[in-house]
């Protein structure tokens, strides 16, 4: 056998006549086949780079994840019904451009400092909440509707029945977290830079509806007659009784819902139609792409999306610029990074209750970045250089 001709055959550049010749030669004896095989193996071994350089691994990884999703979906189908019986835990991360306008929230009230937790009452009055204090707020009739103890607001379940929905809005600034117990005993933890609008008292026969901008973890009291609906720009999350996390930050390109346990429905229309809603199963993340309005499902490590409640900062495959935004919120600082390349680099990391300095040092130790801290202005400013 001519090596040259055989190589042409292996590369697929041989003519039809040559192909026949080679194949006849290979089939002629076991020894021929072995020689051919070794030549082909060596050719394959020496040409790895050709495929490696052209393969689109990211695209294929995306397909792989979709395949996994499909395969685990088939498996969970049977489990789904039994799980529905139990109290559910789930997480929702929603996206919107709220923070951009959140300034208006305090806009009319110049004396309110930007780093204060505020409660907007039904009459439009804005109260400052001291994290270490206690306070009581009354409605127009003089009934106590909410009491504050430290970092928790507690809404009274016993106020007289009203026919009208009356809303309050709690806003948590950068660098802080806060808890709230709604009148139905639903517990909510608000993350930094978040605002939640909710009725002072839920009305009989109506869905329990709240509006979220930012990120919050919900522990919803079960009430099958009154579904709990978390509304955010573009997405509604409907549950009967469950625990979940809602996040709604402007830098995220998608609105995300993560389910830890149980089941929730996601829908984009104003009115809930069971057939058109997306049902989410445990351990999965649903991302609503804000621009094309499609929902993608993927299996995730849910703790990445809930651990912030305990002070952990996690990012999964997020661009550096988004991570900086999250750090700014968490630590109430300003971070500047001019490097376009670094800003678009994706990172996955998790930090437990650590100082900002430790996080920056971790990045510095693993990547060649430098940072400088400026304490002279009223907000700490950090400048990062690659």
């Amino acid at each position: 056998m001519e090596t040259k001709k055989a190589l042409k055959y292996i590369k697929g550049t041989a003519s039809e006549k040559e192909v026949r010749e080679i194949e006849t030669w290979i089939n002629a004896s076991r020894d021929h086949a072995k020689k051919f095989n070794l030549l082909k193996a060596e050719y394959i071994a020496s040409t790895f780079d050709e495929t490696i350089n052209t393969a689109d691994t990211n695209q294929e990884l995306f397909k792989y994840k979709a395949n996994i999703e499909k395969s685990s979906k088939n498996k969970t189908k049977n489990l789904r019904l039994s799980i529905l019986k139990y109290a559910a835990i789930f997480i929702v991360i929603l996206g919107s451009s709220y923070l951009i306008v959140s300034g208006n929230f305090l806009g009319n009230n110049f004396e309110i400092p930007k780093d204060a937790i505020t409660l907007e009452l039904e009459n439009g009055e804005t109260k400052i909440i001291q994290e270490d204090g206690t306070a009581q707020f009354v409605d127009s009739k003089g009934n106590t509707i909410v009491t504050q103890k430290g970092n928790k607001l507690n809404y009274n379940n016993n106020i007289s029945n009203t026919e009208k929905l009356v809303y309050n809005t709690l806003t948590v600034p950068y660098g802080k977290r806060f808890n709230i117990v709604l009148s139905d005993n639903t517990h909510v933890t608000l993350n930094a830079g978040t605002s939640l609008k909710y009725p002072v008292k839920f009305i009989k026969g109506h869905n329990r509806e709240v509006h979220i901008n930012g990120e919050a973890f919900f522990d919803v009291t079960k009430d099958k007659d009154r579904p709990f609906v978390v509304k955010s720009s573009g997405l509604n999350v409907r549950v009967l009784g469950t625990k979940f996390n809602v996040s709604n930050y402007p830098e995220d390109i998608s609105t995300k819902t993560v389910l830890v346990e149980g089941s929730v429905s996601l829908y984009q229309e104003e009115i809930y139609k069971p057939k058109e809603a997306t049902l989410l199963t445990p351990g999965h993340l649903a991302s609503l792409n804000k621009s094309n309005k499609t929902i993608a499902l993927e299996k995730v490590d849910v703790s990445l999306y809930t651990s912030w409640i305990y002070g952990t900062i996690s990012f999964k495959h997020e661009p550096f610029k988004n991570i900086l935004k999250k750090l700014e919120r968490q630590y109430d600082i300003v971070i500047k990074c001019e490097s376009k390349e670094l800003n678009e680099t994706f990172f996955t990391a998790s930090f437990d209750n650590t100082s900002l300095e430790y996080i920056l040092k971790t990045f510095r130790n693993n990547y060649d970045i430098k940072f400088s801290v400026d304490d002279s202005t009223n907000k700490k400013t950090i400048t990062i250089n690659p």
């Binding site: 095989n37 193996a41 996994i68 495959h317 930090f351």
Partner: protein, 179 residues
């Protein structure tokens, strides 16, 4: 997902190349390699028991290619004797052990290339945590070293990895969290 993602990123293009060599077309190869990884996902619990991950993945790829060829053979069985011969040549090539060894040696070489500059112990610790999914304390038990030493090896591994596998580095930070 992270361990699987790393595995995918490390092996996908290399297995794709091998499957393309076995089957002749990139389209067939893509389908086959996707199926291999899907099987890996479904059998994830067994992954920890594998001694040689390159050998395991290569074998799975070979079997998936043989399956595909069998299907093709059924399709053309009565139509064309000549194509059946061509498939037979591909078939015997996949089964040729000497040829397999040549390919697998190169595969292994390419995978370890990125990590072989690590000190031996460091690498072992790293591979154990990466591919076998062991907790740091379990690695310490298996290798008869202290957990602190495991931590050190992993952080050393991270330092070295950044030169070679920069894009994977971030995934390992999650491992640090689980110490």
């Amino acid at each position: 997902m992270t361990a699987h993602e790393t595995l995918f990123r490390l092996y996908y293009d290399k297995l794709l190349h091998i499957a393309k060599g076995y089957l002749g077309t990139i389209e067939d190869a893509e389908g086959v390699v996707q199926n291999v990884f899907l099987k890996i996902w479904e059998k994830k619990k067994n992954l920890g028991k594998i001694n040689n991950i390159s050998n395991y993945l290569h074998t799975m790829t070979k079997n998936a290619c043989l399956d595909l060829l069998k299907h093709q053979k059924v399709k053309i069985n009565f139509s064309n004797n000549y194509y059946e011969e061509r498939i037979a040549i591909k078939n015997q090539f996949i089964k040729d052990e000497a040829a397999s060894l040549v390919i697998e040696t190169e595969l292994e070489k390419r995978i370890t290339k990125a990590i072989d500059t690590l000190p031996e112990k460091c690498r072992r610790v790293f591979l154990k945590s990466r591919f076998e999914g062991l907790k740091h304390s379990e690695i310490a038990d298996v290798m008869h070293i202290s957990k602190r030493t495991v931590d050190n090896h992993i952080s050393n591994a991270l330092q070295h990895m950044k030169l070679h596998l920069k894009e994977y580095l971030t995934l390992f930070l999650i491992f640090l969290k689980n110490i």
